[in-house]
């Protein structure tokens, strides 16, 4: 179970998160929706301490801590129980695909190299890159890089994987297969928090949808509740705009 409570975060004068609380049960897939600037990425980054929240609390399994006052050790502890999939992949540029996947196992978890290599091979096979072990990120396409990114997160068997718009930087053609892969991760029963703009993915895969706007959680519920019977005006506006956008372009 992962729970964050009353998270606040400002960048100089701009209040990005005003008071956000989210609870995710084990094995749940939570999709966070919202327009740009609503604070969803910042929320995700606060969970992994890539941003330091101004206040708030977090519970992850048996760890309970204050987001503002967390010590270096606590931060490391949290980071070793979570994994992050980035919008622009952020693969280690100086390491091959398999080394990227091994890095967390070998350096952070102190697994023997051979064992780590075996696990990394399995993970890369699982994401369909069995012929790309020794390629550097610069030799891989965007879709392949993101699959390595997912393998790198997945191989750690973290308590939760955080996805930050994992398909936003991809070619439209590659979005489908990457979402398909993320769905397979979800089917493995791993807890996930996904920030995305892919509505159909949210409808298909999410156990819970959280809609954020201007640094606040406006509404949350099952995909059915959010998409078919949204209670809040702001949610309705957002959804109708997205859906009409879809209609405009599908000539």
């Amino acid at each position: 179970m992962i729970e964050i409570k009353n998270v606040k975060k400002s960048f100089s004068k701009l209040e990005v998160l005003k008071d956000v609380s989210v609870r995710v049960e084990d094995g749940q897939v939570v999709v966070i929706l919202g327009s740009s600037g609503s604070g969803k990425t910042t929320l995700l980054r606060c969970i992994n301490f890539l941003e330091n929240a101004d206040s708030g609390e977090m519970t992850l399994g048996d760890i309970h801590l204050n987001l503002k006052k967390a010590t270096k050790r606590e931060i490391l502890q949290i980071r070793r129980k979570t994994a992050f999939v980035f919008q622009n992949y952020n693969l280690f540029a100086n390491k091959t695909a398999i080394e990227n996947v091994m890095e967390g196992l070998v350096t952070a978890r102190k697994l023997p190299k051979e064992q780590a290599r075996e696990k990394a091979r399995e993970a890369l096979d699982w994401v369909g890159l069995s012929d790309k072990y020794d390629q550097y990120p610069s030799q891989l396409s965007g879709g392949q890089q993101q699959r390595v990114g997912i393998a790198r997160a997945f191989v750690l068997h973290p308590e939760v994987i955080l996805f930050d718009e994992p398909t936003s930087a991809l070619d439209p053609e590659l979005v489908g297969e990457t979402l398909e892969l993320i769905k397979r991760v979800a089917q493995k029963g791993i807890t996930m928090i996904v920030v995305t703009h892919e509505m159909s993915f949210a409808q298909d895969v999410a156990d819970k949808v959280v809609f954020m706007d201007e640094g606040l959680v406006v509404e949350e519920g099952t995909p059915k509740q959010i998409f078919s019977e949204p209670k809040e005006e702001r949610t309705r506006q957002f959804l109708s705009r997205i859906i009409s956008l879809d209609a405009n372009y599908s000539i």
Partner: protein, 236 residues
């Protein structure tokens, strides 16, 4: 003007004889500069509180002083104060039995630390913040991320600018003549003061520097290609 090949050869050999001094004046500052320069750059890029500001001021101020001026100042301090300092530290040596090449090495080292730190800082800044974040996200500590992810990516970026620095250092090493240290230039014109063939002497020194520099540039390029295997660059 006649060019006397015999005198030229004599100067060449005499210059080469003092090559070890130039090597000391180049490689001691280079190695210390690479190490401390990297430390200074990391402190500044990763913003270690207070120390980063102090180092920024030091680097800026120090780079504003010509090497030869700094060298003269250190040499005066060395000549006038060495005996007192040695006595205070209970070192049984006096200024007459210490080689003042160490003053030259000291001056060149400080210059090298400053300029190399700027090169490495530039290279570090060119690496995307996402690389650090990816390191943290798989559970690496800051030090592990720097050592395993950031520094290996910094090296191939820094090498072209570093070559420039090393070449500059090789040439700058000749300023130590000013305090009477004999290196390639001073060595090459030793025979000239007997034969009055200064032209041949300086040309000989130029040739030695030229060959030395070319070898360094070649080695650096091999190193750059080797450390940058992971990069895809159409111009390589």
């Amino acid at each position: 003007m006649d060019f006397n090949l015999e005198n030229f050869k004599e100067s060449l050999l005499s210059g080469i004889e003092y090559l070890p001094n130039t090597l000391k004046l180049v490689f001691v500052p280079l190695l210390i500069g690479l190490f401390l320069g990297t430390v200074v750059a990391l402190v500044r890029v990763y913003r270690v509180p207070i120390i980063d500001k102090l180092l920024a001021v030091f680097v800026t101020v120090y780079q504003g002083v010509p090497i030869v001026v700094a060298l003269m100042i250190y040499n005066l301090i060395f000549m006038l104060k060495f005996n007192d300092i040695a006595k205070a530290l209970h070192i049984p040596k006096t200024v007459t039995n210490v080689d003042n090449i160490w003053v030259g090495i000291f001056a060149l080292t400080l210059t090298a630390v400053c300029s190399i730190s700027e090169v490495i800082r530039g290279a570090l800044l060119s690496i995307d913040k996402g690389q650090d974040e990816a390191g943290y996200s798989v559970g690496l500590t800051k030090v592990q991320t720097i050592r395993r992810i950031i520094l290996p990516q910094m090296v191939p970026v820094a090498i072209p600018m570093l070559i420039n620095n090393v070449v500059g250092l090789i040439k700058a090493s000749s300023v130590v003549m000013a305090i009477g240290i004999i290196e390639i230039v001073a060595g090459s014109i030793i025979p000239s003061s007997r034969t009055y063939s200064f032209f041949e002497g300086y040309v000989a020194a130029a040739v030695i520097y030229w060959v030395f520099t070319i070898i360094i540039e070649y080695l650096a390029d091999v190193l750059r290609k080797h450390t940058g295997r992971f990069r895809r660059n159409l111009y390589d």
